[in-house]
């Protein structure tokens, strides 16, 4: 029954390894098409800076998707928390960068906890619950700001943290990814998220508090969305109620490309990172290879579908291989 896996099989058998292969291929193609001007240090740092929000929130989305849930309220939470700290600066109430980040994170955590409680205790479908949140938090962002912006001048000190050339966003990203990598692989909490998504009933029987895990997962998602709110204000040096509108789908897409299953139980931090990176590189590469930005949505959509179809086909082939091992 046991057979040694060939090197090639191991590469293509692991989601992450095959993503790396695809990424390398993509980079080679883009480098050639752009005449060798793609992989410059400034381009690379641009890719991370421009996609820091997606990459950060993708970690929370990974956890949510692992429990077979979904959260589409994240950019609304981002807008609400971002707008709040924008206004705090606009009206000169607070200018301490650390405290502003903390406040944004706390607001996000609160919003996420509410989502989590409604979903776990109220047994409301995640997409419905977070759809409500999506309208409410975005709506609150408009109401508290009275549809005004906090301008670059208003947030001038705060935006130093995320301005071009500052290492702030990279450090946050690096810390977040390292922490999540450890938590998801080596702590019982991380493994419980997998267990709940893989088989909630079995998890309950093994004494895992499923409701608690689900609440915490949405709370973590909210925390990251809140942090992203502050990061967004800092990077783009402004706060407006419509910021990052519709970008929650980018976050979900990054996860899906990274091999996170929408049915729960399957997905990894490394895969999520690669998925987000892949998405970011495509977005950056399109103009460099001569495709205007009007093509971006079309191309992104095709990529998401292609990757997911590929995923389905590989999974089917793997299931089939498993079945063939059974002796009849």
């Amino acid at each position: 029954m046991q057979q040694k896996k060939s090197f090639w099989k191991r590469l293509t058998g692991s989601r992450e390894a095959s993503l790396v292969l695809i990424l390398v291929a993509l980079l080679i193609v883009v480098t050639i098409l752009s005449g060798g001007t793609f992989l410059t240090p400034s381009n690379i740092s641009q890719i991370f800076r421009n996609n820091a929000l997606t990459m950060l929130m993708a970690l929370g989305m990974l956890c949510v998707l692992l429990t077979a849930g979904i959260d589409i309220s994240i950019t609304s939470i981002l807008a609400f928390s971002g707008m709040t700290i924008g206004l705090l600066q606009k009206y000169d109430i607070l200018h301490n960068t650390f405290l502003l980040f903390l406040i944004a994170a706390l607001i996000g955590t609160g919003c996420g906890l509410l989502n989590g409680l409604i979903i776990s205790k109220g047994k409301v479908a995640p997409i419905i619950c977070t759809m409500g949140g999506m309208y409410i938090w975005r709506g609150l962002a408009y109401v508290i700001s009275n549809n005004n912006w906090a301008s670059g001048a208003d947030v001038s000190g705060f935006s130093d943290f995320g301005k071009d050339g500052s290492v702030g966003p990279y450090i946050i990203l690096a810390i977040a990814y390292v922490v999540f990598f450890i938590v998801m692989k080596w702590t019982t909490f991380g493994r419980r998220i997998y267990a709940v998504g893989s088989n909630a009933e079995a998890a309950e029987v093994s004494g895992i508090n499923v409701d608690k895990v689900i609440s915490l997962v949405y709370m973590i998602m909210g925390l990251l969305a809140g942090l992203s709110g502050a990061l967004s204000v800092s990077i783009y040096a402004s706060a407006q109620p419509n910021m990052q509108y519709g970008k929650e789908m980018d976050v979900i897409a990054a996860c899906v490309i990274g091999g996170v299953s929408m049915n729960g139980g399957r997905g990894s931090v490394v895969g999520t990172f690669l998925g987000a990176l892949f998405y970011a590189i495509v977005a950056k590469a399109l103009p460099l290879v001569g495709l205007e930005s009007i093509w971006q949505n079309l191309i992104k959509g095709i990529i998401v579908l292609a990757v997911v179809l590929l995923n389905v086909l590989t999974q089917r082939a793997m299931d089939r291989a498993n079945l063939e091992r059974r002796e009849l």
């Binding site: 088989n199 309950e204 004494g207 139980g265 059974r326």
Partner: protein, 508 residues
């Protein structure tokens, strides 16, 4: 053996909405004994186990562990008290590794971090103890049902439990795997573990248990020493009556062939399966869980896709790609899970019954629903099967399991081109009274000249109702017996041994 009780339950009553699942039952487990718990499906055994393990909380009753009264708030309490259960359906995490499945909930940790290497090593030790032929790092979903069951047992062992409950552990195992399990059970008993062993198989009980407790219809019937009770007495205790009056099998003239399929193959599920049914004939299909019976017939009916195979109705080949094709050809399936596949529980009975022919009844080019005709027909057929419903507007969910099954039968009858009725575990989860009624409906249908194919794991039912019996094992037909030649022992043997012998021959 002294009366050194490790576990005692008294006066346990558990009520689910509309059903008393347990009514004042009691149970005593001595230290270091293997105690069999027997009873028909639906007798309350699984519910009882879930009360012991804290998954369900009983409305009434007391539970004593080592003489001390205990109240478990959840499964975790039971685990900590040293009670572990291996459930009938493996409750596994298919996406995670074997190691994780074993240690979920009690991982090895150091400084808050999981010790994967130590866990993998410990898992390997546990699997070696069970003679398992797979690695701890394999993904659970890739294992067979029998292998998953072993992981579940390893999981119980890993908690160092003092009481282990095995809920039908041999149902999915082949004979040699069962032997291995018996040895493990012996070994655990010698180590001082007390074991509750639930099984439908008499041989399990005789081989491993010293005492047996019988439940019937949510009641405690009695506890007996295994070497002092005879099989007929035990069956009578379980069923509550002499078994002969359960099965009103009519003598029907067997007609010409109505239904045949051959060469049905689906990789990993079944291989080269062929069966024939004649008019007026009831054909039983038996085998252990995982033998591929349901999978084969679902493929025949177009619910799943077979890789290859031919289906014939009245001698003519029919091509079935989807369930509607099977219905058109006159093949009707009563699915195993009537609650999810057989009925729309929230709908009224009438709407459920006429669903397959709603389109045919509809009027005009826009297919307007013909409510009057629908009502007439559904009423007629519901009366034919004698459901205990007041009106055709009652939701299907309001009926008991047995009556729900009758509604599914009515739904089959309404398709007037029906020639063959395939029944998958027709009396699963149905109480004794309704069972007899379903059998009598089956008899009537056979008299009318329909061909009936019945999948069942319950030996008495197979022996009592079938004209001919196919046995399946590991995705192949292992034999076909005439009613006169069939015995329980022979059928069990064919469901297990023969399959293995054939495989050996094939390997040589």
């Amino acid at each position: 053996m002294s009366d050194d009780l490790i576990l005692e339950l008294k006066g346990i009553t558990k009520i689910f909405p509309g059903v008393k699942a347990l009514d004042q039952v009691q149970f005593q487990l001595r230290r270091g004994e293997v105690h069999a718990l027997m009873g028909e499906n639906g007798a309350g055994k699984s519910t009882f186990i879930k009360v012991i393990t804290g998954v369900h909380r009983a409305e009434e009753g007391h539970m004593y562990l080592n003489g001390q009264e205990v109240h478990f708030k959840g499964p975790k309490d039971a685990l900590e008290a040293g009670i572990a259960a291996v459930y009938q359906h493996p409750t596994t995490y298919p996406e995670l590794t074997v190691t994780e499945n074993i240690f979920m909930g009690h991982e090895f940790k150091k400084n808050g971090l999981i010790q994967w290497r130590a866990m993998n090593q410990e898992a390997k030790k546990l699997l070696d103890r069970l003679d398992a032929d797979f690695k701890p790092t394999e993904e659970m979903g890739a294992l067979s049902v029998a292998q998953q069951q072993m992981v579940e047992i390893a999981k119980a062992l890993s908690t160092n439990a003092k009481i282990i409950i095995l809920d039908e552990p041999t149902a999915a195992l082949a004979a040699n795997e069962s032997q291995r399990l018996y040895r493990i059970v012996d070994q655990l008993r010698d180590e001082g573990v007390s074991i509750i062993f639930i099984s439908h198989r008499m041989e399990d009980m005789y081989r491993v248990a010293s005492r047996v407790t019988v439940f019937r219809d949510a009641h405690y019937i009695g506890t007996y020493d295994v070497d002092k009770i005879t099989t007929p007495d035990l069956i009578k205790a379980m069923v509550g009556r002499e078994i002969s009056d359960m099965y009103p099998k009519p003598d029907v003239e067997i007609g010409k062939e109505v239904f045949r399929f051959e060469g049905m193959t689906r990789t990993g599920y079944f291989k080269d399966v062929a069966m024939t049914v004649h008019a007026g004939e009831i054909v039983g299909v038996t085998g252990l869980v995982g033998a591929g019976r349901t999978e084969t017939l679902e493929a025949v009916c177009g619910i799943t896709k077979a890789d290859s195979g031919h289906v014939f109705v009245d001698g003519k080949e029919v091509h079935i790609k989807k369930p509607a094709d099977a219905m058109k050809a006159g093949i009707v399936l009563l699915p195993e899970n009537r609650q999810t596949q057989g009925l729309i529980l929230r709908w009224g009975l009438g709407d459920n019954v006429i669903l397959p022919i709603q389109d045919e009844l509809a009027k005009g080019p826009f297919k307007v629903k013909n409510e009057k005709k629908e009502r007439e027909l559904s009423k007629k057929y519901l009366e034919e099967v004698d459901t205990k419903a007041v009106t055709i507007f009652d939701p299907a969910s309001s009926l008991s399991g047995g009556n729900q099954q009758k509604v599914v039968v009515a739904k089959a009858l309404v398709q007037d081109n029906m020639k063959v009725l395939i029944m998958d575990e027709p009396t699963k989860g149905v109480d004794v009274g309704a069972k007899a009624e379903i059998y009598s409906i089956m008899g009537d249908l056979a008299k009318k000249g329909y061909g009936i194919l019945m999948i069942s794991s319950e030996m008495p039912e197979i022996l009592g109702m079938s004209d001919r019996i196919y046995t399946m094992c590991k995705g192949r037909v292992t034999g076909c017996l005439d009613r006169r030649d069939a015995t329980q022992e022979l059928l069990l043997e064919m469901s297990m041994e023969k399959g293995n012998n054939e495989k050996k021959e094939a390997a040589e």
